[in-house]
């Protein structure tokens, strides 16, 4: 049984323009699996993550956790599920209550879920600080979020997320606001829990570099305006993309190598390709697609298996050329 099962989920925000943010999305995660959701701003990746974390309910379709529809969970079962699924937000400045000390942020959850009593809660909190590489002292628990640096705040957000011994974490752009030198350390910290505790992740990011590092051995799900357009094993999606949109994302990434940047000529994206709105008929990507044919304007391509668990929603999935510079090891 899958740990998380997203079935035929569509979502429209009541406050929005009426356009669905998600269209009939299906996704399942096995225990301990790392799934990276990738796409541009507004593609629905954060909405999908939040639905999985139960922050709101989908307009239609179901999301199940260990076989149970989370919308139908009540009472004790709901409390248990709440503990098992946690979320880490993008902004470590906005996601911590500025009026609470670190101790008073952590303690209520631990006590409420009966993981500690008011007498045992402090040593447990110190242990959590230790695990995320923060200063494990009672004085540190007395601090307020504004007294921490960005990296420390994100470490603390992680401590809060793991404090309830979850089985599944939705991590939304957790490194995008951090300095480069700190990113890998935070990713390594999160990865440590997959091996130590069999934690599963939905990892949301637009940065393929971070994704390639974090989701080694996991899966990438590429989203375009509410549709899943490609999904497959991480290395395969990067080295052999089967959707032109994935390829466009891959070739757009700035790379930290000036010699590679010079070689970009010839793969320059045509004007407007980056910014066109999605099409309502046929393939949503058709107006930006360099490979578009007549059939793409009339028929929406279904998400089909191209072999080895690699799915793509493209009529010409087999003709998408790989990006040569991503094939070999870095020079």
């Amino acid at each position: 049984m899958s740990q998380v099962e997203v079935r035929d989920v569509s979502h429209t925000y009541a406050s929005g323009n009426g356009r669905p943010v998600l269209h009939h999305v299906n996704l399942s995660a096995e225990p301990g699996e790392i799934i990276a959701l990738v796409g541009e701003s507004g593609c629905g990746k954060t909405t999908l993550g939040r639905l999985i974390a139960g922050l709101y309910e989908p307009s239609s379709g179901t999301i199940s956790y260990e076989g149970e529809d989370i919308a139908k969970l009540r009472g004790k079962a709901r409390m248990q599920w709440r503990r098992k699924v946690q979320m880490i937000h993008q902004d470590p400045y906005g996601s911590l209550n500025p009026g609470l000390t670190l101790g008073s942020t952590l303690a209520p959850g631990l006590i409420g879920h009966k993981l500690a009593t008011s007498r045992t809660v402090e040593p447990l909190m110190l242990e959590l600080l230790e695990q995320v590489g923060l200063d494990a002292t009672p004085e540190f628990l007395q601090r307020y979020p504004h007294q921490l640096s960005g990296g420390q705040r994100q470490r603390f957000s992680i401590a809060r997320a793991i404090s309830l011994q979850p089985e599944f974490i939705v991590a939304d752009e957790v490194t995008s606001m951090l300095d480069v030198s700190m990113r890998v350390a935070i990713l390594d910290l999160l990865l440590k829990f997959t091996t130590d505790r069999q934690l599963g992740y939905v990892f949301i990011s637009h940065d393929f570099g971070v994704v390639r590092y974090f989701a080694q051995g996991g899966r990438i799900v590429v989203m375009f305006y509410g549709y899943i357009v490609e999904t497959g094993p991480t290395e395969e999606v990067i080295t052999a993309p089967k959707h032109p949109y994935t390829r466009l994302l891959l070739e757009s990434i700035p790379v930290p190598d000036p010699s590679q940047a010079d070689r970009r000529d010839g793969e320059q994206s045509a004007e407007g390709r980056l910014i066109r709105e999605p099409s309502d008929t046929g393939c949503a990507f058709v107006d930006r697609c360099p490979m578009a044919q007549q059939i793409c304007r009339t028929t929406r391509p279904p998400l089909l298996d191209t072999g080895g668990g690699h799915y793509a929603a493209c009529h010409f999935a087999d003709s998408v050329p790989p990006l040569n510079r991503l094939l070999g090891p870095a020079a």
């Binding site: 507004g42 910014i275 090891p329």
Partner: protein, 374 residues
């Protein structure tokens, strides 16, 4: 108002620098509590360059950029050194003279372009206000509007739509591009951009990088940009200055920064810490430790506590920036093999060789000392 023309945009000129920073120091607060955000920075940007200021949060890169336009937010102020822009010392200008220079000759695109516009006025109205404030640039405001439309096309936006739009009707990536067009409206010779790609997704980052390269080519404008993202540096910059704890630790061409043998260990560590799509991540190594507190800096090299090459001398003596063919590195260890050195100072005494420099480096580098004496 004439626009300086550059014969060959994109190439590094050999003439006089467009902006010349000499021994610049910027401090926040006074007395014992003063924190020096920028310490003794000497840097020249030639016309036609795309110059990147790189470093981690709190390294002073944004403060340095702000000081170029003399807009360091209080209580910060320039406490030493000088900035010369097109041959004129900006520190000697009156407030009014500086106001004229700002906007017409040098402009800035701030970080988070989302908040750069007035939400209750259309973009067109705001552009009109700028044109009214600078009648010296366009005698006829219509001329200014026509040029703005042209700029909007260059940043791949539809002029009519943008003119009538409120900022809330634009996406983050569009706002960033409008902000760039506005910054170029008065035909400045220098544009300073603070983290131009940071809040954007991959596709918008690519678009902004391509557009900036294009504007640099077609308009010949000199660009200075601040970033923490070395991948953007590799894609966009011609020259790079890397800062650490308010100091320059390395300056050079983009090729030198990424590939030269003689590189600052911090720069090397920073590059190795990037999870890049070019490799599956096995080679990525985080930098241990964290950025030092500017209020309690260690003696000697500020990077020494995190440096894998650090030796005793690094913990005692602050390393000077040693220039070899315009590639400057401040590190005792990597400069050891340098035979010909020319210390950065106006007093261009005959070059000392590295051995004597190492031996004579013992006298403490006074933090307030303005002239580099080596």
């Amino acid at each position: 108002m004439s626009t300086p023309t550059i014969d060959k945009p994109g190439t590094t000129g050999t003439g006089t620098a467009l902006i010349d920073i000499q021994n610049l120091s910027v401090a926040f607060g006074t007395g014992a509590k003063a924190v020096t955000a920028v310490h003794d920075v000497t840097l020249a940007v030639e016309p036609g360059e795309i110059y990147a200021l790189v470093g981690e949060s709190g390294c002073g890169k944004s403060t340095l950029a702000y000081s170029l336009l003399d807009i360091v937010p209080p209580p910060g102020e320039i406490v030493g050194g000088d900035i010369t822009f097109q041959g004129t010392s900006t520190t000697s200008l009156t407030k009014q003279q500086m106001n004229k220079l700002r906007g017409a000759e040098m402009t800035m695109v701030f970080q988070g372009a989302m908040n750069a516009f007035n939400p209750v006025l259309t973009i067109g109205k705001q552009v009109q206000h700028i044109l009214q404030a600078h009648p010296e640039v366009y005698k006829d405001p219509k001329e200014g509007r026509a040029y703005f439309n042209h700029l909007l096309e260059l940043v791949q936006l539809s002029p009519d739509r943008i003119w009538r739009a409120y900022e809330s009707q634009l996406s983050g990536g569009m706002k960033q591009r409008v902000a760039i067009a506005v910054a170029l409206l008065l035909k400045p010779s220098l544009v300073v951009l603070d983290e131009p790609t940071t809040a954007l997704d991959v596709l918008n980052q690519r678009l902004v990088i391509d557009i900036l390269k294009d504007l640099h080519q077609t308009l010949g404008v000199t660009i200075i940009f601040v970033t923490h993202d070395l991948a953007v540096v590799a894609e966009l910059a011609t020259r790079v200055a890397v800062m650490y704890a308010g100091r320059l630790v390395e300056t050079g061409t983009v090729q030198e920064i990424f590939t030269a043998k003689r590189r600052h260990p911090y720069v090397e560590a920073l590059i190795n810490a990037i999870p890049s799509v070019l490799n599956s991540g096995l080679k990525v190594k985080p930098i241990g430790g964290s950025v030092p507190n500017l209020a309690a800096l260690p003696p000697g090299c500020k990077f020494a506590p995190r440096c894998r090459l650090a030796e005793d001398i690094c913990r005692e003596v602050e390393p000077p920036l040693i220039d070899v063919n315009n590639h400057r590195v401040a590190c005792h260890v990597v400069n050891r093999d340098v035979t010909e050195v020319s210390p950065i100072s106006e007093a261009s005494e005959t070059t000392a060789d590295a051995t004597s420099l190492r031996k004579s480096a013992a006298p403490d580098h006074e933090p307030n000392e303005k002239e580099a004496t080596l």
